[in-house]
Subunit: 337 residues, 2 copies
């Protein structure tokens, strides 16, 4: 068997500020015939996620930065085409984090075999994968959500936010969510959000805080933070005593060229006894089975609506990634190969 040619995208340069096409380089790689213990995979779906922006910066973090010149890593679901490992056979569905490439050959150890038929394959990159797990553990564990509380989620129409909103509804909560367009607010209402707020109506935190207070006169118990900036400031102002803020992301600042100031009302944490806690989903992997059991049951029962924005073809991958920062996606942003 010959090597399999594979279009791939590499990091061409580290972006400062908003990334653009110049930061990505198209190249032709190859997936050789797999030797013993190796598996050749043809990708079906690629994931683009906001956290990848952080890995483009050369700084100390919980994962090493992407290397310039290397293929961009990220979640991908593919199909085994040839296998040199007894645990994998052609046709198997597998997950890798090997990223933006059409095909690859890799050690069987870096592949996770996926069940077939339970959910569509690409769901393992979204609702049944990392974004879904982020929503689940962030809301229930870090946010310590109790049934019937009032929840606010920013970027509510995003891959994580849309799941947060729906889990909160399953837990009989009142849910307030922000999004950046009226269409997205319509989507939020369609998945049960009680108060959908187009944050672009506000130029600073005061207007947003007023809208939050109107939606939750008794205050917010749990804020699921995806955005930062004026969202965090408004939320702190509208929190109820003993409220919890689960910090998943702060996308508003990911492309800033200088450090943006934080909320000017942090002192309210004291009289309100607020807890603000950052988290990373990979710390909670040991509890993944509980997540999968709940999530597949919810999906099966029609309690979770899965929304995806799909671009076709590997050459759309940089554009798919960049659109995360212009807010073009509703639900999970995916590239279909």
């Amino acid at each position: 068997m010959a090597d399999l040619a594979s279009i791939e995208y590499r990091l061409a340069a580290r972006p400062v500020g908003m990334p653009n096409d110049s930061h990505f380089a198209r190249a032709i790689g190859s997936a050789p015939e797999p030797g013993p213990g190796k598996v050749r995979v043809r990708n079906l779906w690629l994931s683009v996620d906001p956290y990848m922006r952080g890995r483009m910066v050369d700084r100390e973090s919980y994962v090493p930065p992407f290397e310039v010149g290397a293929v961009l890593e990220g979640g991908a679901v593919g199909e085994v085409v040839d296998s040199g490992d007894e645990n994998f056979a052609p046709g198997d569905l597998v997950m890798s984090i090997l990223g933006w490439r059409e095909a690859f050959t890799a050690s069987a150890k870096v592949l996770q075999k996926l069940p077939k038929g339970m959910v569509p394959p690409q769901a393992f990159l979204g609702v049944a994968g990392m974004p879904g797990m982020t929503a689940y553990f962030g809301l229930l564990k870090i946010g310590a959500l109790r049934n019937g509380e009032t929840v606010f989620v920013s970027a509510g129409a995003g891959a994580v936010g849309s799941i947060v909103a729906q889990i909160a509804k399953i837990k009989e909560c009142k849910v307030i969510a922000t999004a950046g367009s009226d269409d997205k607010c319509d989507f939020l209402r369609s998945i049960g959000v009680d108060h959908a707020i187009n944050y672009k109506a506000f130029s600073d935190s005061r207007g947003l805080e007023k809208a939050l207070r109107a939606a939750a006169p008794g205050g917010i118990d749990v804020y699921f933070e995806n955005v930062g900036g004026m969202h965090l400031e408004a939320a702190i102002g509208a929190m109820r005593p003993f409220g919890r803020i689960a910090v998943c992301g702060m996308i508003a600042g990911y492309n800033a060229t200088s450090a943006e100031p934080g909320p000017n009302n942090l002192v309210m944490m004291i009289p309100k006894r607020l807890r603000i806690e950052g988290f990373i989903v990979t710390d909670h992997m040991a509890e993944a089975p509980a997540f999968l059991a709940d999530m597949t049951q919810w999906i099966g029962a029609g309690k979770i609506t899965v929304k995806e924005t799909v671009l076709d073809g590997i050459d759309q991958t940089p554009a798919a990634f960049l659109s995360l920062f212009s807010g073009d996606n509703t639900g999970k942003m995916l590239v279909r190969l």
Copy 2:
């Protein structure tokens, strides 16, 4: 028995920015003969505390604001002079929160009888009272301190900070503390602080963060926050993953006339999985016996050094309070009557 005349200090006006003498009004009140269920008390010690600044502002909080024209409330230790209540007798030592007055007559229900001989009476306003309890629960419960960790406390030479530093040493921790003068840093070293830092050497958080990183190359596990501003920003930069920040106060902003921006590096909460939590000591009163048992044992064993700054005479009370914001006190600031 005649009424007892009592000099008292009332709130004359709500300060905007740094308070001054014009915000306090001297008046002559009176403590009448106590009827049934009432007790007449002559105060011996008055407490001034930074949190009182917050009560001078007319805003919703966990305690109602001070009223203009009313005597300023605050912790006080006094001696019973006459009693109409069977639970109190002349000579008893009592604590009240009735504040800045020489004497008063009040319901026995608002008085707490204090044990004699265990610690000096004024200790119940400091190390054995609210500031000591704030240090204890903030560090051990909110900060979830484990033996041997690295602790940073700002305003380390203050009433609360100096107890935080010493409890952390009892728990075999490495302790870093900031203060605003070289004399205070000497005091910090005298109570066992490993790295005393005069923060006035730095004009922004970068210098302070560098000093913290030099003192704690492995990072800070628990930051006990009394100050805010550049202290919080520097601490976030120097925290270790899974670090905890117990937010007791943010005195740097108490006299600000406009809201000051928060730390520009809050996003680091995510990769570092930091928890930042505000607290109020009165929420932990149910556990006061555990605190008192530990604290009296530590004082008896010479493990806690009590430092006080004392001004004499009720007419010094406004000055004692104002000095909290210029940093004139080392340890607990008290007025002796």
